[in-house]
Every structure is written in C-alpha cells, then in structure tokens.
Symmetry: C2
Subunit: 418 residues, 2 copies
C-alpha cells in the first residue's frame, strides 16, 4: 500500500495531474548537498569556472546600464526579449555559420526554458523524442515531464550514428509511434564530450527532413573548443532546425539567459508560450549582457575560458592515464566532460556512495539515459575543480574502482569454485 | 478552409500538441506597440512606476553583492532559491499575518512562473478553475494553456461572493466536473481594484476546504495600500493555501523575482518542476534583491510607492468625476486599477481603436474573462502615467465614450422610428 503513507502527508494527492508523477529527484540534483562539502572533490556538477570572469567587467557594464537605461532595465519588457541583445546573438550565431534574422530569435530564461517551452508546444503523452545515447539529463527530464518517450540512438566518437538513426526511425514508424523531435548536443556533448562529425551532419538533417522530424540543436559548448573550431551548426544547413544557445558557459549561468532560433511560425507560438509562462524574460539580465557584449572584450574572455578548460581537460586525461590506464574514456576537444566506461560488472550508481566516502563525486551514467541503461558508465566534469584537484579526484576514484574490480574478481572466483 | 493558409507558412502544423492551440495574442499584449508611442496616454499597461526607485540604491546593493559574493551570484544555484532571500520573504509575508518556514518557500521567475508551475502540477484537460469575475488576464491565459476551463464567480465591491462560490461549486459538482483550484487576487485585485472583505475570507476558506479545492492566493499588491492595511492573508488562516508573492510591484519587475509558499508535499514537486523548466531561478537577481532588503530602507521605498499611487488614484477618480460623472467605477484603496462600467450598449473592445485615435489606451473588459463577457467594462491602470497625464487621458476617453453614447442614442432613436 504505497499510497497510504503518501496520503498521510499530502492531502492533495488525488488532485495532481499525471505529469506531476513524471518528476523525480535526478541523480545529479541529489548530489548537490555532497558537492558543497569542501573536502569532497566534485567531478559531478557541470558548473562553469566563473572565477575566471573578472567581476569588474560586469560592474562596468552594470554601471553603464543603470546610468543610461536604468528605468528600462528594471521594468517589464517584451515577451520575445531585448532587440539589441537579439541582434548581438545573431552575430554570435554567425560564428557558427548561421544566418538569421532578429525576428526569429527569442530570448529565454536559460536555454533550459527554451527547451521546456518548445517541448510544451509539441509534445503530447506518448510521443517519441529521439536523442543521443547518452543524452543531457536536463533534456531527458523535460521530455519525460511532457510524458514523451525518449528513444536513444547509438553514438560513437563521431557523435550520433546516422545508420542507427535511420534504423530507429524505421522501426518506430513501423510500430506506429509519432516521432516529434531529434534532440542533440552536437558539440562536446553532455555527457559524452564527443562532437558530431561534419559529414554526419548533412546526412542527419536529410534523414529528419525526409521523415518530418524537427531537429533540436542544443549548443551551449560550441565556442569552447580547445584547438579547432567545430563544424558549422546544423542550423546553418537547414532553416527548419530549432537552435538553442546560452550565455551560461561563455559568460555566466547566474543571469539565466539563453536563446532560441526557430522557424517564424514556431517562433510566434514560442513567444506566446513564454508570455504565458513568465510574462517576459528579465530585462535586467538581458540588458546587462547586452552592455557586456557591446563594451567588453567578450571574445578575449571566451579565449580565457578555453585556456582554463583545456588545461583541466589535460589534467583529467593525464590523471586517467596515470591512475586508470585500463579504462576507456572519450577525449573531448572542447567543453566540460569525460565519459568513462567502467570495467565490466561495475555499477557506477551503486559505487557512488563509496566514492563519496573516498571524497570524490561524479555523475552515474544512468542519469543520461531515459531507459535505465548506462550502469557501467560515468561522467566526469573537469570544468570547475583546479587541475590539481582533478588529479586528486581521479586518484581517489581509481582507489574505488580498483577495489570494486578486485571485489568483483574475488566474487567471480568464489562463484567459479561453487 | 482556415488551415490551408496556415499550412503554407508552417511546415510543422501537424506536429503541435493541443496545448499549442490554446495560445493567442492577448488583448493586453497586442497594445504594446500602441503604448510605446509617446503621444498616446496609456492607461492600459499595468507597469509599476519604477522611476520612483532611486537607481543608486540598486547600485549600492549590486556593488556589495559583487564584492562579497560575486562568484556565487553569477553561478548556477539551487532549484528552490536563495536561502537568505527566502528568510527575508518569510518576514515580508509575516506583515500579512502569515507564519511560514523557509523550507516551504520557493523562489520563482516572477510570481507568473510560480502560477504556471503550480498549474502544470495539477491541471489536466477539462479541469475547472474557479476565479473571480473579472480575473487577472495572465492567470486566465495559464489555465487555458493547460486546457482547463475557467469558471468565473461573481464579485462585488467586497470581492468574491461566498454565496456565488457555493452555488458554482454545487452546480459544477452536480455536472460531474473536477474543480482543482480557486484562484483569487484578494487585495486591490487586477482588474477590479476591489479587496476581499475580512469576513468573507474565512467563509471562502471553509467552502474550499469542505469541497477539497486548493486555494491559490495571488497577492502582488497587498503592501501597496493607501490608508488602511489589508486584512490578513487567506494563507494566515489555512496552511493549505498556496500563496503567490512578487517583488515586481514593491521593488521592480525587471528582475523577475517572485515566490510561492505552499504545503510541503506540493513544494517538493514544485521544486522539481522548476528544476525541469529552468534548472534554477537567477541567483544574480535573487541575491541582488536580498542585498537590497538587507541594506536599504525598503519599507520607506514601499511608503514612497504608496504615495505615488495614492496621488494617481486620486487623479484618476477626480478626472472620472469631472469628465465621466455618470459612469460607475470601483474606488480602489490600493494597487493600480480602476474598473469602469460603460453605458449600456457600448463595447469597450470595439471602441478601443477609436480611443487610440483619440490618443488614449485602456484594456477592454473582455480580456479579464475566459468566457467572452465583460464587453461593457474596461480597466484603467493609473500606476504609470503622471497625474496630469491621467487627467488628459480620462478627458480623451470621455470624448470617445460620449460620442459613442450619442451615436448609440441616435441609432436607438432611428430604431424607434422604424
């Protein structure tokens, strides 16, 4: 009688909508309390290293904003977002080959809310969303909240496999399922760290076009490449792609400013959905970022971030080589993440409490699948801890993994004896 | 064939969820372009007079924040919101008799998003939401977006009528409808300006409790009383009331910071829904407001706002007396709005383009009903224009109304002749 207890504490249990039951504490969120303990090296998180952003740059932008347009910045504003900032976003996207009009850009409360609002416009209970396997935990959460089914498509070191995509579409269509989106993070993906190869992009676009599937291109990390620029955005090849961008990683997440570029008819509905949900995004945050882009060397700042994350990626890969040389890991050329495959038989979720006891945290692989798989995978985020701490963390992780591997072998031998 | 044209411009028409079709350009939003023309006196809007807030106060709070906690302010933060600010919100709500725990407060992107998230937790297609007649246009929009039916309950100068509420509940229950919420703005309501009498509050709480209906108390204006404090909040009488508050009117809306106080089990789901939708509310906006509350004379600032709005309310009522003495209007004792009844046979929506031609704007009454009624009502918002402009605006409005009344009489006479 699982409901009896719940009823005792929740008088309104009979009133919830079905979608309320899709919500559960994510494995990433549950780690927040752990992460904040100073003695734990957290390789979980996903936080940008905002310490590398000089606060006086923000202060300069703020002062100018308050002086020039203070009353506008603290007032209600338009539901589509600040026009000047949208024009600057247009230039930002042009760096990835995207041609766009300010008319088709909508500013949002982080790109997360852009994805939430777009999902609300399209997803009905039982619809299918195709996504990389593994995929961004926050996106899976949104799709589930709209009662959609997330179907993962196999991914390798060149990103999503077009053949696997084609097979999945064929199979799902044969089953009579309604596929609404292909959601993907093509550059330095969260959690895999891999980048979708240029030659695969056109093929994927073509497959989705042919099958009337909307492509959602989520690209928070694209500008954080270490050596080589990423291939042009999928959106640069097809105006029907819905493109999601964010200032959280190239500036700072605390402002909660992201953006969506989408076809005009969808954009019109998106603005209405946004007005319904929040009236308007924060004028203050948007205009502050707009001043920052206009007045400061934001490209130099991104270069600084690249240097910080490159050094940390190197520290992480070096430590992997030193302490866990037998494990396979992705080798990201930008972004925040390593994706690690554990020795067979190890379960990253079951192992997490042991790791925390060893004072290191990571995110278990199951967080990045909607279907319970990913047990022997884990994600390491190297963006926030110092290079030295990354090494300490991976050393600690190696202790846990090695012990678990020994235990597995011991039990396996015992098993053999029987 | 209305869909043929649409199809030409929207390749994805067959993919939308049903809820996408609940969205339409609201009568208030459509006025935005008009409002921005300087020669038009806008009595539409709903904007607080943020010019009365000294920008150097904000600047002082910002500087301190950046200096003391800059890296935290621009980082990701918790999904429930800043703990210090939640504690300050607790004190704010205590001014209205509310006893609460910081544990049960959730910070949101304006109270609008609080209402949106709560609605998402409970509303299924076809559910009923009871609301004042008239009710806040943004709330009606949210309820419709979740495909709920809004049933208006008659309201007079003492607010929602308990007898009408009882009758509506009985009738809807007899029809087998599922009533989830009673939504109300008990103080200086938008758009009516009226306040729910103290003696009615307990009766309404009792009726909802008896019928297992959640009460949503939306109170953005309560602290903006002109002379007399408002009665204690409904939430002070029943811990099951979901209370929505906002900094948009007592500080500024550009930060997009509001809050929800709700029962623990609902709060838990609300935090998860918020994390799904936006990961976390803006740390930057929240911490800036927290500094402002800690360091500045915020109660003195609210007193300043009261003075500004009192003077404007007086200007509006004086002008009504001078130019439109025969029309009935509510006499708000706080907040932003007058609710005006037009002479019989006049239609405020049809009249709006004529008013704009006369360089005055207002919001037609139909915006505040989900059922198409309210044609001979209109809302005047006196919060933003200067007292002189309010008088000019109402004078212009009287020209339009008087001309329309004459025309009506002329046609009526002609009609009689026939």
């Amino acid at each position: 009688m699982p409901n009896t207890t719940a009823n005792k504490f929740d008088d309104w249990l009979d009133l919830y909508a079905d979608r309320a039951n899709t919500l559960s504490v994510s494995e990433v969120r549950a780690l927040f309390a752990v992460v904040s303990r100073p003695e734990v090296v957290s390789l979980a998180g996903g936080m940008p290293y905002v310490h590398a952003l000089p606060k006086d740059t923000i202060e300069k932008s703020f002062k100018k904003l308050m002086h020039d347009r203070g009353d506008l910045a603290i007032q209600y504003s338009g539901g589509q977002g600040d026009l000047t900032l949208r024009d600057q976003v247009r230039e930002l996207m042009a760096l990835e080959g995207i041609k766009s009009s300010v008319e088709d850009i909508v500013m949002t409360t982080g790109s997360q809310h852009g994805l939430d609002l777009i999902s609300g416009l399209f997803l009905e209970r039982g619809d299918v969303v195709l996504a990389e396997g593994p995929s961004y935990v926050g996106a899976i959460g949104i799709f589930r909240h709209y009662e959609a089914h997330v179907e993962h498509v196999e991914t390798d070191n060149d990103g999503l496999q077009p053949e696997a995509l084609e097979e999945a579409i064929k199979r799902l269509k044969a089953e009579g399922r309604k596929i609404k989106f292909l959601y993907l993070v093509p550059n330095f993906a969260n959690p895999s760290g891999v980048t979708l190869a240029a030659k695969r992009r056109a093929r994927i676009i073509e497959l989705c076009r042919k099958n009337h599937i909307l492509v959602l291109e989520d690209n928070p990390y694209g500008l954080l490449y270490f050596d080589k620029k990423v291939p042009n955005a999928l959106r640069s090849m097809d105006d029907n792609v819905i493109y999601l961008g964010s200032f959280s990683k190239i500036l700072a997440p605390g402002f909660r400013v992201g953006y969506v570029l989408c076809p005009p008819a969808i954009r019109e509905k998106l603005v209405l959905a946004q007005e319904s949900a929040i009236l308007c995004p924060s004028a203050f945050s948007q205009m502050l970022i707009s001043e920052y882009l206009a007045e400061s060397d934001w490209q130099g700042q991104i270069e600084t971030f690249r240097g910080v994350y490159r050094e940390r990626r190197d520290a992480a890969l070096d430590a992997m080589k030193e302490y866990l040389p037998k494990l396979s890991t992705t080798r990201p050329e930008g972004g925040f993440y390593l994706w690690i495959t554990l020795p067979e038989g190890l379960d990253s979720k079951a192992m997490l409490p042991l790791a925390v006891k060893e004072l290191v945290a990571y995110t278990p692989g199951t967080a990045f699948y909607g279907d319970g798989t990913g047990q022997n995978k884990l994600r390491i985020c190297y963006s926030f801890p110092t290079p030295d701490n990354i090494k300490v963390g991976i050393k600690r992780l190696s202790n846990v993994i090695n012990l678990q591997t020994e235990l597995r072998d011991t039990f396996a031998k015992k098993g053999t004896k029987k």
